[in-house]
């Protein structure tokens, strides 16, 4: 592969393609900066920056952004707490448990089950145990979306940990749990970070569970709020687009700071 990348027609075509494909994202930001309620059409560039859209968005949507943040961070914690040990257990291929291969297959199959089936089957259960309209309820449901993916992702990394490292720790007298926390987890931090990024994005993007497992307005993440917003005040485009921009910040931020994790996660596990 050539290492000296030159500016070629490909670069120009690539930029044009990116501009075309990312136009909706530009348009979202552009519209959010034109705080007009009267003007029908949004102009091409936000020459007169007007932040009224953001003012409105923050006034009405800040609690929902906070809700999304709480739910998403909670889902990341639950997801990693369950997925990391499981991934390690499943990576110990030299200590097989009969039938555990079936569990790996089950994990793959979970990815094929439509969310509406889960929501439909889960709601009566949630209703009977009082988890509807609660933070723990939504956090657990959102975590469930990421757990199989995270297990498969982290496991794919952990099976390659040299067994000599684990053996050495055992000789030093570490028990299985110590081996896991002080040897396996630190070595696996890249895959854990990838898993965390995806668990966060899954939960942050979740709409189906928010829509089906909440009904009273006690727990309304930003996606659900956007949905209600779109239905209710479509005239207030600037505020709507400002909300959309704010809700896109985590994805954009993670794409910048965790780029390599995202790329490896997409190819490693193939989700969504």
């Amino acid at each position: 592969m050539e290492t000296t990348a030159r500016v070629t027609p490909r670069t120009v075509i690539g930029i044009v393609l990116a501009i075309f494909l990312l136009f909706p994202v530009y348009w979202m930001v552009n519209s959010s900066l034109q705080g007009n309620e009267n003007l029908l059409e949004t102009t091409w560039f936000p020459f007169d920056i007007d932040l009224r859209g953001y003012q409105l968005a923050i006034e009405s949507q800040l609690p929902h952004l906070v809700t999304s943040l709480i739910v998403s961070l909670g889902a990341v914690i639950v997801c990693l707490a369950i997925a990391a040990p499981a991934a390690y257990g499943l990576s110990r291929v030299n200590i097989p448990i009969p039938g555990i291969g079936l569990f790996v297959i089950a994990l793959v199959i979970t990815q094929m089950i439509p969310g509406i089936v889960i929501a439909n089957g889960l709601f009566p259960i949630y209703n009977s145990v009082g988890l509807v309209n609660t933070y723990p309820g939504l956090i657990l449901a959102d975590a469930s979306h990421g757990i199989p993916f995270c297990i498969l992702l982290i496991r794919a990394f952990m099976v390659n940990i040299p067994s000599s490292l684990v053996e050495a720790a055992r000789i030093d007298g570490a028990n299985e749990f110590r081996v896991f926390t002080s040897i396996v987890l630190p070595i696996s931090r890249n895959s854990l970070a990838t898993a965390a990024v995806f668990a966060f994005l899954f939960a942050w993007s979740d709409f189906l569970f928010a829509l089906t497992l909440t009904s009273t307005g006690d727990v309304v993440p930003i996606t659900l709020s956007m949905y209600q917003f779109v239905g209710a005040h479509t005239q207030s485009w600037a505020a709507l687009m400002a909300t959309a921009t704010l809700a896109s910040i985590p994805a954009a931020f993670l794409l910048i700071v965790a780029q390599k994790y995202i790329a490896s996660g997409v190819t490693g596990g193939a989700v969504k």
Partner: protein
Amino acid sequence: MDADVAVASGATGAGGDSDTKAAAHAASGRAVRRRQQLATLLFIAPAIVFVAIFFAVPVVNNIIMSFQEFTTATFYTGEAPWVGLQNYIDVVLDPLFARLTWNTGIFTFASLTVTFFIGLGLALFFDKTFRLSGLLRSLLLLPWLLPLVISAAVWRRMMDEGSGIINQILRAIGLNGVPWLTSPDVALASVVIVNIWIGIPFVMVILYGGLQEIPREFYEAAALDGATGWRAFWFITWPLLRPVVVVVLTLGFIYTIRALDIVLALTGGGPANATQTYATEAYQLSFIGFDFGHGAALSNILIIVSLVVAGLQLRVGRRPNDLAG
């Protein structure tokens, strides 16, 4: 390992039996092994419980409910009378069912086909390194990372009949504006367009990964034999990429047929059910109409269709364990 063996054989020795050393060693080896297996099981157990509660139980529950009259009353009385296959019969014989099947089929097939070819084109385009290629490739991931509801809201703005930018451009070049989301004739196509936009990065990234795995020497050898350009694509790239293509199309199918967020946020299934699919109608039945029995029946039809088609795709293409990545 050795430390464990020492501890375990100490314990066996304390038993005071007169076994030979070798037998004791073998027994302690088994004990160690059993203990390690137990540790492995304890590591996995929480995940097994979690997956059981959040996947197995809802799926089973959904199957049970699909044979019951499960409505709002059930939540108060706890009674859900058995109705056999009646829910399935009702759902399938409903005049809407043909429409749902058509919409789901068109939505899935059109989205997936177009997304695949655009994604393949982009993957091939980015397969050669050029200045800014890495940066542009990552930027193109953004649409896929945004929450679907957010993307749908942005497209709703762009597709607005009166003031959206798309109609603004169409009018500027002398064409008529299109009622993208408000006309029953156009809405399904509009939803497909948005779904294509969302799916392109996923297909691109996976196929790009597949292309990167193809050894460059193959192309060099083929070039010596005079195979470049299209010939190189047909005789080297395509056959070697095929397993990845099968994975992309299978996963793409599974993720597309269940799509609910985009449809609900763009059109709510309307106008006049023009964009209603199995997934959205199952949602409407259960969570708007509080008729969980019928909702469960329809969502089970969705799961059966997606598993059968995905299974066929894999059978035609490759073995299922490719999905594990």
